[in-house]
Amino acid sequence: MKAVNKNTFREISKSKSRFLSILLICAIGVGFFSGVRATCGIMKTSADDYFDGHNLFDLRVLSTFGLTEDDVRAISEVDGVDGVFPSKYTDLALHRGEEEYLTRVFSKTPDEINKVDIFEGRAPETDEECIVSYNILHEGLKVGDKITLEDLTEADEFPLVRDEYTVVGLYQTPMYISKTQRGSTNIGDGAIDAFMIVPEEHFTQDVYTEIYVRSDTLKGFSSYSDEYKELRDSISDKLETLGIDRSEIRYDEVIGDALKEIEDGEKELEKAKADGQKELDDAKKELDDAAKQISDGEKELDDAKKELDDGAAQLADGEKELADAKKEIDDGKAALAETEKTLADAKQQLDESKAQLDAGQAELDLQKAALEAGKAELQSARAQYEQGLAQYEEGLRQLQQMEQAYGSAAVAEAKAQLEQTKLQLDNALAQITQNEQIIAAGEEQLSAAQAEIDAGTAQYNAGLAEYEDGYSQYLDGKKALEDAEREYNEGAETLAQKRQEYNDGLKSYEDGMAELSDARKKYEDGLVEYNDGVAEYNSEIADAEKELSDAREEISDAGNAEWYIFTRDDNVGYSEYESNSERINRIAAIFPVFFLLVAGLVCLTTMSRMVEEQRTQIGTHKALGTQTARLCGII
């Protein structure tokens, strides 16, 4: 070995660790750089192989108005197109027990397009079986699950012929390589959770939802390369041009039918409107007549009622009258009875009084006689008195004379006797006076009694006259009462009759009222019916008009039939993958470079130090004429 090289190796072995660490750091740096740099390409190539192996579509055509067999034919004639595969899909909610997954149900397409890998279970063999693919985050569905499907939109018809399936296999589709993203939808929360494949016959719609297009030339290019994109864009442009024509044709097809339907509908509506209006008018007229009748009837009934009320009042008055009369009669009877009794009593009384009076008179006469006797007695007494008095007076005169003559003593006894005689006279006078008084009183009494008796007699006479009057009144009254009773009976009869009439009338009125209320009820019902009818008519007309205007709106909203051409780039997983590898590429452009730079810097530092250390040696070498390049070997 040449000495120069020996020098190098010995230098290395002197500082193995330094050499090794530098070696390692360079190795890592380079490895990292090249590895990361290469990743982008490798990723893309791997993906491309996968897509080619599974015949992933290159272009996907959708139309706002659906696609037909004619469209399929037209597309397959486009230059560059090698495979045309129509398909149908619909978005439904998949239920397994309590869980719900938003599922896009695809129709089965041949393996030449979007070939799926069944990684668990098997392919379906009967109509009840299906295979599903699910978002790995949910991991709900397993082989053997029974599932039901539900349409979350308000469509009239369920998009499939059956809504129950058994899962027999789980599959992987090249269309969605992302583990978490499965595309978006209009239903539910907008994110699709799972996919399902069922045979095309299970779909009720007869137009295709989408058409997958494949090109062999494109297959030859790498999926993410520029040549692929160029050629794909040119084919896409051709399809777009084709789409403009085809969508016009389709639009006319669909809209033409729809417009005709709308026009028919409008004609129907007009006719129905007219008919309905006429019916309503007739009904209204009927109702109005009925109303008039009812109001007439009401008026009649009111009058009748008024009459009845009057009658009732009258009856009531009459009854009252009768009652009063009866009362009167009874009172009268009672009064009469009483009067009779009174009269009898009075008569009795009168008789008694008469008797009394007579007795009294007799008594009075007796007393009068006694009184006269007394009076006479009294007169004699008086006379006596008078005599006595005269005697006294005489005596007194004598006395006085004597007194005058003899003096008082001599007369004293005579005076005393005179005095006594005076006293006796006074007593006698007093007695006489008293008796006079008594007699006067007695006379008074008697006269009073006589007056009383006279009064009594007068009273009696008056009473008798009264009684006579009364009796004749009583007789009158009795007669009157009899008349009244007769009248009353007549009156009661009449009243009963009238009452009967009234009851009849009342019954009649009540019947009339019942009739009226029936009629009114009928009228009300009729009115309600009419109103309902009007409302129904209006609402139905409104509904129908709305339907028609909605339909027109729908037609204008539907806009034009348009084709939408989607490429692989519109698939989330696909473009995500591409951007991921691009990202790695960009990282590779910077990150490993830093790493490498660091490695380089380390090397540089070490080398600089080595160069410094070996200045002399290097100088020596150079002096010896060693090439600089060779010298670097040491470094």
Partner: protein
């Protein structure tokens, strides 16, 4: 045409505003097979001249000619080849490669050209037959210098340039080295240029070039050079 010619050679160093002329119009000639000694005080430009002659430095002005070739106009590659093939350099501080044995040190120089003297042979010639596998750290100063000389000689150069070869050696070893050089010159007819500040050894030279103030102040030709053994200093 002399074997080695220097004519009006200038080497300027610019330090800020000051310009230092390491070689200030240096002019001298040296014939083939001569033992030339360049003497001068320190800082006079001796080493500069030797470096320029050895192709390790370039001049700013002037002509440097070796064996008819214009060395001053050489580019880097040519200089490298010139150094490799035409020059044998002996340094003051030996400059041996510490990782290599004596033999390898010599080989490293020799293996650069096709026509060379084998290392063992030349090492024996300088008297280091037993020490060929020793590393420089295991050799004494004199032995190292001899290895250095062997290295230079094995290349069979046109020119042997010695920069104060005895500077780091004692009197006796120095003398021995000088004797070796003189013998090589005489025996093999090699042109030897020796730079020293020791004026005592000038008698051994065929030509003495005195450098003063960066120019050749005096060139003395010596018809009877004294053998080294006889020189005492």
């Amino acid at each position: 045409m002399a074997f080695v010619t220097l004519k009006d050679v200038y080497k300027r160093y610019h330090v800020g505003e000051v310009t230092i002329n390491a070689a200030d119009g240096m002019t001298f000639d040296i014939e083939k097979g001569e033992l030339a000694v360049i003497v001068g005080p320190s800082g006079s430009g001796k080493t500069t001249v030797l470096n320029m002659l050895g192709g390790m430095d370039s001049c700013d002005e002037g002509i440097i000619s070796v064996d008819g070739a214009r060395v001053d106009g050489y580019n880097r590659k040519q200089l490298t080849l010139y150094r490799r093939y035409d020059i044998g350099f002996i340094f003051q501080f030996y400059n041996l490669l510490p990782n290599l044995t004596a033999k390898e040190n010599v080989e490293i120089a020799a293996q650069t050209k096709r026509d060379y003297i084998p290392a063992v042979e030349i090492l024996e010639k300088v008297g280091l037959g037993e020490r060929i596998n020793n590393f420089p750290a295991q050799l004494s100063g004199g032995e190292q210098q001899r290895v250095s000389i062997a290295r230079a000689l094995s290349k069979k150069p046109k020119l042997l340039l010695c920069d104060e070869p005895t500077g780091a050696l004692d009197y006796n070893t120095g003398k021995m080295i000088l004797k070796l050089l003189q013998d090589t010159c005489r025996r093999d007819g090699m042109t030897v240029i020796l730079v020293t500040h020791n004026t005592a050894i000038t008698p051994m030279a065929d030509r003495v070039i005195k450098i003063k103030n960066s120019r050749a102040s005096e060139i003395i030709l010596n018809d009877n050079p004294t053998p080294v053994e006889q020189i005492e200093w």
